[in-house]
C-alpha cells in the first residue's frame, strides 16, 4: 500500500499502519507455531517462521506500568500525558497514551483500547479505564 502521508518505515510495519487506518490494532500470529508477537517483525522468534497472519487485538488489557510525561511539550498531545504499557488479553504487551483520569492509573488496573481519529489518514489508539476485567 502506498500513501504519501505515511512515515518512511520498514516494510515490516505496513500491515500495522494499514490496521491503524482502519481503527484496528494488529499484531502478528505465526502460521507455524501460533505464537503471537508485537512489535512488528519479519520472523517468528519462537520458530523462525516467516509465515504469519495479522490479528486484531480485542483491546482488553491490564496496566503493566505507566509514566506521566510532563516536560517538554509534545504536540499534538496535551501535557501532562499519561502513557500506559499494558498486557493484553492476547498475550502481547503494547503501549498507548491514556485518556482516563489519573485516579484510575495504577498497575494492575483494567484498560480498554479505543481509537480516536488522528486528524490525518487514520486513528490514534488510546487506552481508557475499563469497568471490569475481560
Amino acid at each position: 500500500m502506498t500513501n504519501a502521508l505515511r512515515p518512511a518505515l520498514s516494510k515490516d510495519f505496513d500491515f500495522f499502519l494499514d490496521g491503524l487506518e482502519q481503527g484496528r490494532f494488529l499484531v502478528q500470529r505465526c502460521n507455524d507455531c501460533q505464537a503471537t508477537r508485537y512489535p512488528p517483525g519479519p520472523m517468528c522468534p519462537e520458530c523462525n517462521s516467516l509465515k504469519w497472519s495479522a490479528q486484531p487485538l480485542s483491546g482488553a488489557g491490564e496496566i503493566y506500568s505507566f509514566v506521566v510525561h510532563h516536560y517538554p511539550p509534545i504536540p499534538p498531545f496535551e501535557t501532562p500525558l499519561p502513557i500506559v504499557l499494558a498486557d493484553m488479553a492476547e498475550g502481547v504487551r503494547i503501549m498507548a497514551p491514556f485518556g482516563g483520569g489519573a485516579d484510575t492509573l495504577h498497575v494492575g488496573a483494567p484498560v480498554q483500547l479505543e481509537f480516536r481519529p488522528d486528524g490525518k489518514t487514520g486513528f490514534q489508539p488510546w487506552f481508557k479505564p475499563a469497568e471490569t476485567r475481560s
Binding site: D12, V68, L81
Partner: protein
C-alpha cells in the same frame, strides 16, 4: 577468559564541561585527544587506532587529519550512544591484544547542550537503522523522551519493590553532594537537600528534574596501549581488567518495554557476568563504582544487576550512606552525570581513571578496582579498571 593486566590506559584528556562550549565538536574532540596524548607522552604519529561510539559526530578521518596522524589501522564506532560508553575500551583492548593496533585513542566530543538536546521530545531513537520504525511508532504514541522511557521501567520497579521518591532522592542528593566538591562539575558548590529534591518539578513522573542528567558540551579522550609499552611511559598505568558489551531479551533503544520484567536490566547483568569472569574479581573487590546515571534512579537497577545487592534490595542498600565517599561502595564520586556533566558516560571513564591514579576530587582511599558502566535500557557496556 581471564584478561590479565596486558592493556593499559596511559593518557587522559578532557575539555571543560559547560552549557555552551563556543567551538565546534571537532575542535573539542581534538583538544581532548591531543591533551590525552601529551599526558601519555605519545606522539600523534604513533596513534594507529581510534574508537568512539555513535551520536559522536566527529569522523575518524577529520580527527586523524587534525592531530597529524599517519597510518590508522583500526577505527571503530559502536552504536547505541551512551550505552556504548565503555565499548571503545573493549574495542581498544581487543585491537591491542590481537596486535591489530598498538596505540588506540578513545574519544567522545559533543555540543549536546548548545547544538541539540536528546531530551527535546522530538527525536525517535534508532537513527537510520531498522530500529527507527518502532521508534517512530512509540513517538506517535506520546513516548518522546528518554526520561519517559526509563520512567516507565522505574515505575514498574517502584510497584514491585516499594521504592519511593525518597529513595530516588537519596541518589540525587548524594550525586549533588559529590559534585559540590568537584571543581570540574557543572554543580560545583551547589549541593541539594532532600526537601529541594521533593520540591523539584516532575519531568516524566516518577522522574523529577533532579533525577535527570545535565545535558552538556564537552569532550573526553583516553589513550590505550599495551602494558609493555606503558612501562616506558610517565603515567601510572590503569589496566583494563575487563570490558564487555550486552544486548538481552527484547532489547530496545532507551526502553525495554516488551521484556517480561522491564524493571530488571538484564543487559547490565550480562555485562556484569562477563566483567567478573574476565577480571577474576567479585562485587566485594570493587572499591568504587561509576554507574551511568542518565537518570539517577537507574542506579538502583545497576547496583542489583552488577551484584552489589539482591534484586529489589538496592533501596535498602543505599539508605545508610553506602554510596557516599566513605561508604561501603562509593558511587559516582564525581557527581555523576546528574552532577558533574553528561558527556555520554566518557566523563565516568575519566573519573574511574582519576580514582585509580589517586587524584580524584573526592578520592576513595586506596582504590584498586573501579567499575564503570554505560547506559542501561539500551544495548550496554561496562569495564573494570584497576591498578
Amino acid at each position: 577468559m581471564r584478561w590479565g593486566d596486558d592493556v593499559a590506559i596511559v593518557g587522559l584528556g578532557h575539555t571543560e564541561f559547560s552549557t555552551d562550549s563556543g567551538r565546534s565538536e571537532l575542535q573539542l574532540a581534538v583538544e581532548a585527544v591531543t591533551a590525552a596524548l601529551r599526558e601519555a607522552e605519545i606522539r600523534p604519529a604513533d596513534v594507529d587506532g581510534l574508537a568512539t561510539y555513535s551520536i559522536d559526530y566527529n569522523a575518524e578521518v577529520d580527527v586523524f587529519e587534525s592531530i597529524g596522524g599517519r597510518d590508522l589501522k583500526f577505527f571503530s564506532r559502536v552504536d547505541y550512544g551512551g550505552g556504548a560508553a565503555c565499548a571503545p575500551l573493549q574495542q581498544a583492548a581487543m585491537a591491542i591484544k590481537t596486535g591489530v593496533a598498538e596505540v588506540v585513542v578513545c574519544y567522545r566530543a559533543m555540543n549536546e547542550r548548545s547544538n541539540y538536546r536528546f531530551g527535546a521530545g522530538s527525536n525517535p531513537a534508532g537513527g537510520r537503522s531498522s530500529a527507527r520504525s518502532i521508534g517512530w511508532l512509540h513517538t506517535s504514541l506520546g513516548m518522546r523522551t528518554p526520561a519517559a522511557g526509563l520512567g516507565m521501567a522505574m515505575r514498574r520497579y517502584m510497584h514491585l519493590y516499594g521504592a519511593t521518591s525518597e529513595d530516588f532522592g537519596r541518589i540525587a542528593v548524594t550525586a549533588r553532594k559529590h559534585a559540590a566538591t568537584n571543581p570540574l562539575a557543572r554543580f560545583y558548590g551547589r549541593p541539594i537537600t532532600m526537601d529541594d529534591y521533593m520540591a523539584s518539578r516532575m519531568i516524566a513522573d516518577p522522574f523529577r528534574l533532579y533525577d535527570c542528567c545535565q545535558e552538556s558540551d564537552g569532550a573526553v579522550a583516553v589513550v590505550v596501549t599495551s602494558a609493555e609499552r606503558a612501562r616506558d611511559l610517565p603515567s601510572t598505568p590503569v589496566f583494563v581488567r575487563a570490558a564487555a558489551q550486552g544486548i538481552c531479551d527484547h532489547q530496545g533503544v532507551m526502553w525495554n518495554f516488551y521484556r517480561d520484567d522491564i524493571s530488571w536490566a538484564s543487559e547490565s547483568a550480562l555485562v556484569a557476568r562477563q566483567l567478573y569472569e574476565q577480571s577474576g574479581l567479585a562485587p566485594a573487590d570493587i572499591d568504587a563504582a561509576i554507574l551511568y546515571d542518565h537518570f539517577g534512579p537507574t542506579v538502583l537497577q545497576s547496583l542489583e544487576a552488577y551484584g552489589f545487592c539482591g534484586r529489589g534490595e538496592a533501596k535498602d542498600f543505599i539508605k545508610d550512606g553506602a554510596i557516599e565517599v566513605g561508604g561501603r561502595l562509593p558511587v559516582n564520586t564525581n557527581g555523576g552525570q546528574v552532577g558533574e556533566a553528561y558527556i555520554h558516560g566518557m566523563n565516568g571513564v575519566a573519573e574511574a581513571i582519576r580514582q585509580l591514579r589517586g587524584v580524584a576530587a573526592n578520592q576513595v582511599a586506596g582504590a584498586k578496582n573501579v567499575l564503570v558502566t554505560a547506559g542501561l535500557g539500551v544495548p550496554t557496556s561496562g569495564a573494570i579498571l584497576g591498578v
